[in-house]
């Protein structure tokens, strides 16, 4: 299912392909809204102490930002084929640092840490900066659910295929994913979202969106299973600009 096929005009009936997407989007938006509602109702009672109030307001803020990120990604996905996305050389390390900085309040509120790991060499990926940022934010947000609290989540970038490609990935350390769940996850990676109740405690919507964004940049997403967690990555063409200098 391409991004443009998700588009829906008032009066049109949803196709069989569009229904799971709509259901997944509704499901993923329902969870943050339900939490915001519960916290707001408790605050409205006015029985919480100052520290609890502060913590709950922070959770409301970060949860609404999470929901807004998802709606913004969904809008982008629907309009992917209507828009021209300029591809340019993007500094991989800088982008990883920007994402880590952007998500640090969320990670801190969850008692977790997001660290950037990058080599000394400067890597330039051919990408649309905004779409690539969204992919990494998606992966990092996903990792937050599964990462062990004692170990940081890592955002990594590295060149491969003799510098022709760049891989940006998010590595989490947590419980091993069983083989059957992993097979299902790999099968559904970037495919139309559907009910998945195991490793992704969600529909796979974030991965589907990331796959669509990667495709627009002539890249692809993938995942590697480790004994102690997983890495979700995006592969992109490397810019040859640096070689010309």
């Amino acid at each position: 299912m391409k991004g443009s096929e998700i588009g829906w005009t008032k009066g049109e009936e949803l196709s069989d392909d569009q229904i799971p997407f709509m259901v997944a989007a509704a499901h993923e938006l329902k969870a943050p809204l339900a939490l915001i509602r519960q916290l707001s109702l408790s605050l409205e009672e006015g029985l919480e102490g100052a520290e609890n109030q502060r913590q709950m307001l922070r959770q409301i803020l970060l949860t609404s930002e999470r929901g807004l990120r998802l709606t913004s990604d969904l809008t982008r996905t629907v309009r992917l084929e209507d828009s021209l996305f300029e591809l340019e050389p993007v500094n991989a390390r800088q982008l990883c640092e920007d994402v880590a900085h952007e998500l640090s309040p969320l990670y801190k509120a969850c008692g977790r840490e997001l660290q950037v790991v990058a080599g000394k060499r400067q890597l330039l990926a051919v990408a649309n900066r905004d779409l690539l940022r969204r992919i990494l934010v998606n992966f990092s947000d996903n990792a937050l659910h599964y990462a062990d609290a004692r170990t940081p989540v890592l955002i990594q970038s590295a060149g491969y295929q003799e510098g022709q490609k760049i891989r940006l990935g998010v590595r989490d350390y947590g419980p091993a994913v069983s083989s059957d769940i992993w097979r299902r996850l790999k099968r559904n990676l970037g495919a139309s979202p559907q009910a998945m109740q195991n490793r992704p405690a969600s529909s796979g919507l974030g991965l589907y969106i990331s796959g669509q964004f990667a495709e627009v940049m002539h890249g692809s997403i993938g995942a590697t299973r480790h004994r102690d967690g997983a890495t979700f990555y995006v592969d992109l063409l490397a810019s040859q600009q640096m070689k010309l200098l």
Binding site: A34, Q38, L39, L41, L47, Q59, Q197, N198, A201
Partner: protein, 124 residues
């Protein structure tokens, strides 16, 4: 004085779990918290709570696996379970009643204190 009753909360969203724990503590319940079914089984093995508040969609083995497991042991099978999830309207109580589920709460429409009311009804 009667000692406070203990509720095991099984919920994968840490902030939703914290919200439940705050509400239950305010109502003078002891609380325990597990983020997934495997951790929940470990806690149930250590000490029996008075009731379980259970989310349906958990990472790893989901709530149904936990409910099945609980039915395998005489003491665990008698524990009252309250489901608290975002898809309550799709889950018929009569289908889950054989697994010890006594009430289903909808996260999208319930009020924070509904979990306390439900638990008190169950433990009466």
């Amino acid at each position: 004085m009667k000692s406070p009753q203990t509720i095991l909360v099984v919920e994968d969203d840490p902030w939703f779990a914290k919200q439940h724990l705050r509400v239950l503590k305010k109502a003078n319940f002891n609380t325990k918290y597990a983020t997934d079914g495997i951790a929940a089984i470990g806690m149930l093995d250590q000490e029996l709570p008075d009731a379980v508040l259970l989310d349906m969609f958990l990472p790893g083995p989901n709530a149904m696996v936990l409910l099945h497991e609980m039915q395998s042991y005489a003491d665990l099978s008698r524990l009252p379970v309250i489901i608290c999830c975002g898809s309550a309207s799709n889950i018929p109580l009569d289908r889950l009643a054989p697994y010890g589920v006594v009430e289903i709460l909808d996260k999208n429409t319930m009020k924070p204190n509904d979990i306390v009311s439900a638990i008190r009804r169950v433990l009466l």
